[in-house]
């Protein structure tokens, strides 16, 4: 049954790849066909994953007649979990694309639609293929297809630059991934993932595999300091693709890490987990700090993805520490926290990207300084974006809160698992820094939502905005509903996670949660916390009822319209607080990490005394760029300049080099 659904899924996406190219005559037909097929395909993915959860994992093998062996598709609960995220987000994004693609009717829509289908297909393959060679092929396919999607609007130079940075970095990552796989393959003499389980490696080799997997997948996931491609590539892609890239593609890297750290390598030393935690906390704090500084809506969201990958890795890193410390229940809690946050982030980050896409669709600008007042022009989009913003700020009764709560809970037990005063202090600081991350995220999304949607429009673009078509709203609405559903009743997801994690040695999740209809209690010795979201919802609803009652206690108030107080002048949009201004206190307080350079220039040409035009530019330099990438770049340039004279451009010289090399080889060959 699962196999049939899987094959149908493959068929649907293949049709989705081929048909748009055949129907290049009419963009309308292309749009409906391609994205309709993508919706169906994504539903097939969801069906596939549900089927696996209901009836257990499946394996099927196809002899492909290629020298690299036969294709093994294996869908276990871990794959199914990621497939579920892909299916849900993919469905919403594809429905959204039906409307959003109108922007691209004159911009190579057929190509984009075909690539889009291919992109989803490649991610589905990455998550299900269980054979090294085909996994790497699928992985590279995903990279290449997304590279083309990032570069789709190549008319803008920035996009092309972003795309090349992206392909460069991820190719570097693939080198590490391939190395990790090769070491495993050479040890067990098999390309099948299943054979890797418990491969007998020496501890040095294990460490090498660990680092290769961490660096390789970390590049794709966008872990700082390997993140530099992410904030440029994600904004460059069309919005529904950005949603998938941020929502799912970077999560496939986490899938790879889970495979390696949970399955292939087994329980490792505690410092593995500590390394992951270190990278994770740097990613989350710096990621959100940089996000707060952005004024490009999509770039802001991209940086926030870096932050959330950090939070996911906090759960996974803590889980690894617990595993090596032989605390399977706590390890289960930590991994559940990480994976839960992964699913949540997939949902709300895609929602936010789709929301940003809607803003882009109707205003044609991503710069939030030019926006404002959209809540009146686009009321539904505003509600959906607000849902996403609240969810990503971990506000209660939305899904982000539940997973952050779980992450806090698992970090809370971390100081007991590590030894030595410094690691203990470090693990205590993790909680404080996660709190800092949460506060910065709230700050960031107050800014993003407030400046984009509230107050008065700051430009003509924003004034002329219109609500987006129904298909786009449906896509966003679907994800908003998911945010609420997962937040109000997380027990379902927790149960699913129990199924996902129970297959791994070193984790004990079967007794972790004590499920009731209104709560899931942790069965952790000495401490019995409870996740009772329905109770929290009840409190808030009762509170709201009380507020309404109190408000109307003396009868309904009379509402009079009166202009906003601006010291007696009629307010206009230029008096509003700007996004740059809103972030200014944090920018100043965190100077050390941002190295800001604010310059104010006054144009006195009109009048030397008054009526002077002021212009302020804010420069931020990114620490990782300054400390890591620039020296590397300089070094490479230096070397290249040394080698450059060899590259004369004269064909005869090149033939000469060939002759020289031949002679040298001949001489070496006879060992004169």
């Amino acid at each position: 049954m699962t196999e049939n659904i899987y094959l149908v899924m493959l068929l649907l996406f293949s049709a989705g790849i081929i048909l748009p190219i055949l129907t290049s005559g009419s963009p309308k037909i292309t749009n409906i066909l391609a994205h309709g097929l993508a919706v169906l395909g994504c539903l097939a993915i969801v069906a596939c994953s549900v089927e696996v959860f209901m009836t257990g994992g499946v394996t099927f093998t196809y002899a492909m007649g290629l020298p690299v062996g036969s294709l093994i598709i294996r869908i276990d609960n871990l794959s199914a979990f990621f497939l579920l995220a892909l299916g849900v987000v993919g469905t919403a994004a594809s429905i959204y694309a039906l409307g959003y693609s109108r922007e691209y009717y004159k911009q190579r829509l057929g190509l984009m639609a075909a690539l889009y289908n291919c992109f989803i297909l490649s991610m589905a393959l990455v998550l299900t293929v269980s054979q090294v060679a085909y996994f790497l092929i699928a992985w590279e396919l995903m990279t290449v297809v997304s590279f083309f999607l990032v570069n789709h609007e190549y008319e803008k130079t920035a996009n092309t630059r972003a795309a090349y940075k992206y392909i460069l970095m991820t190719t570097l990552g693939t080198v590490f991934i391939t190395t990790a796989f090769l070491i495993l393959t050479m040890t067990v003499h098999s390309l099948d993932f299943q054979m890797f389980k418990g491969a007998s490696l020496t501890s040095t080799m294990r460490n090498i595999v660990f680092f290769c997997a961490l660096l390789g997948f970390g590049t794709k996931a966008g872990v700082i300091p390997l993140h530099i491609w992410l904030p440029e590539a994600h904004p460059a892609a069309p919005s529904h693709v950005s949603a998938l890239m941020s929502g799912i593609m970077i999560k496939t890297a986490i899938y790879g890490m889970c495979r390696f750290f949970l399955e292939f390598l087994g329980v490792g030393p505690a410092w593995w987990g500590e390394v992951v935690l270190f990278l994770a906390i740097i990613s989350s704090v710096l990621g959100v700090l940089y996000a707060l500084m952005q004024n490009d809506l999509k770039r802001l969201l991209a940086y926030s993805s870096v932050e959330n990958i950090g939070i996911i890795l906090l759960g996974i890193g803590a889980g690894m520490v617990f595993m090596s410390n032989n605390q399977p229940v706590l390890a289960g809690l930590a991994f559940a926290a990480g994976l839960f946050h992964l699913f949540n982030h997939a949902v709300f980050k895609s929602l936010l990207f789709l929301g940003a896409g809607s803003v882009l669709y109707s205003t044609h600008t991503k710069n939030i300084e030019d926006l404002g007042g959209l809540i009146k022009k686009m009321p539904y989009t505003a509600v959906f974006f607000l849902t996403g913003a609240a969810a990503i700020s971990a506000l209660p009764t939305l899904n982000g809160f539940v997973s952050e709560w779980l992450t806090y809970q698992s970090l809370f037990y971390l100081p007991q698992a590590v030894t030595g005063i410094l690691p203990r202090l470090g693990s205590v600081l993790l909680i404080a820094l996660l709190g800092l991350t949460g506060a910065l995220a709230a700050n960031c999304f107050v800014k993003a939502f407030g400046v984009t949607f509230l107050a008065k429009p700051r430009s003509k673009h924003a004034e002329q905005a219109k609500e987006v078509p129904a298909t786009m709203l449906t896509g966003m609405g679907l994800l908003s509903l998911m945010c609420f559903a997962l937040g109000v009743w997380p027990q379902g997801m927790l149960k699913l996670l129990q199924g996902v994690l129970s297959q791994f040695a070193g984790l004990e999740v079967s007794t972790l949660f004590n499920h009731q209809w209104y709560a899931a209690a942790f069965n952790i010795p000495q401490a019995n916390g409870v996740i009772a979201m329905p109770v929290v919802v009840g409190m808030l609803v009762l509170g709201l009822i009380a507020a309404v009652l109190v408000y109307n206690f003396n009868g309904k108030p009379k509402n009079v319209e009166g202009e906003t107080w601006t010291c007696g002048i009629i307010p206009n949009a230029r008096m509003e607080y700007t996004a740059t201004g809103f972030a200014q206190p944090v920018r100043r307080a965190y100077k050390a990490f941002l190295r800001t350079k604010d310059t104010v220039t006054a144009d006195k040409s009109l009048n030397p005394y008054h009526g002077v035009k002021m212009k302020m530019t804010v420069g931020i330099s990114y620490l990782i760029d300054v400390w890591l990438y620039r020296p590397v770049k300089k070094g490479i340039l230096f070397l290249v300049n040394r080698v450059k004279p060899l590259q004369s451009g004269n064909l005869q010289h090149y033939i000469g080099y060939v002759l020289l090399v031949t002679v040298v080889i001949l001489i070496l060959g006879v060992r004169w």
């Binding site: 806090y408 709190g435 506060a439 407030g450 409190m539 408000y551 944090v586």
Partner: protein, 298 residues
């Protein structure tokens, strides 16, 4: 049963919160050699607010109108969660994280509302409030962590129990000092904020709600009073859990301690100056160091 108790606790705290605010105002007045407003002045203010009609800017959206309700609801939710030692909740849903994020929800919407009216004051207030929150939140986590570690639980009723069971120690005192500073920050008082001013250079919370009037402002002020009482309750039950030997029941001790903290807050506010906004990171880093020391000393 526990639901009934919870509702009673919310009602009691909501009713008493303005009184605590009144006590602080009165004490402050006395310390400044004035008579000060009466203990019940805040009630009168609220009654007046709730009789008034609203003036609403044409710029605002539904966010502006909804924010006071949400703020008030989160304050009530916080009141429902606050540790009072009066009853055992049986079901341990009262995690410290729920409380912190409940307050964050209210703050989030108030900050959005501050941007909604399109005035510079509002935006500035919202920006600063979120900034101070960025500074306070990690330190808050650290300080509460000291108690949570002692209880080995993040459930507040258990934390309060564990705090009460432990004796006076260096760690506890350091944590108490740290949390006192955080209480000042959370309740928006000098030296971090000034609750009595409407001067644009100094206001933070007041700037944020500048556009509100009538019943909305009533909801917000009442909500703030409840939030203040909840913070003081956290201080009392987590960081000053010791009762001098005596035959008085613990509830009476708790009420007394709340009043003492109220007086201390008034004292701090009278005796210090408002700090510049960019001096605050230093203060809060120092506070964070105190809590780290408290954890090391444990």
């Amino acid at each position: 049963m526990s639901v009934l108790f919870m509702i009673i606790q919310v009602v009691v705290l909501a009713v008493l919160a303005p009184l605590v605010a009144g006590v602080i105002k009165n004490t402050k007045g006395k310390m400044q050699s004035r008579r000060g407003p009466g203990y019940f002045q805040v009630y009168f203010d609220l009654r007046k607010y709730f009789k008034k009609d609203n003036v609403i800017s044409p710029t605002v959206s539904w966010i502006f109108l909804a924010a006071p309700y949400i703020y008030f609801a989160t304050a009530l939710g916080a009141a429902a969660l606050a540790p009072t030692l009066l009853f055992d909740r049986g079901l341990h849903y009262d995690s410290i994280f729920v409380l912190i994020y409940m307050l964050a929800l209210g703050r989030f919407f108030l900050a959005l509302a501050s941007l909604d009216a399109g005035s510079t004051f509002g935006g500035m207030g919202g920006s600063r409030e979120m900034f101070i929150n960025v500074l306070v939140e990690p330190v808050m986590m650290l300080t509460l962590f000291t108690v949570a570690m002692r209880a080995n639980s993040t459930v507040m009723s258990q934390m309060a129990g564990a705090a009460a069971a432990s004796g006076i120690s260096l760690s506890a005192i350091l944590a108490a000092i740290a949390f006192l500073i955080l209480t000042v920050a959370e309740t928006g008082r000098i030296p971090l904020d000034n609750p009595d001013t409407h001067l644009e250079l100094t206001m933070v919370h007041e700037g944020m709600v500048l556009e509100y009037c009538g019943r909305s402002v009533g909801l917000i002020f009442w909500g703030s009073a409840i939030k203040q009482l909840v913070t003081i309750l956290l201080m009392v039950n987590f960081f000053l859990p010791w009762n001098p030997v005596g035959s008085l029941p613990p509830v009476v001790w708790m009420i007394l301690k709340v009043l003492v903290i109220a007086v201390v807050l008034a004292g701090i506010e009278t005796s210090t100056n408002k700090m510049r906004l960019f001096r605050l990171p230093g203060l809060l880093i120092a506070t964070g160091c105190l809590s780290l020391l408290a954890i090391i000393a444990m």
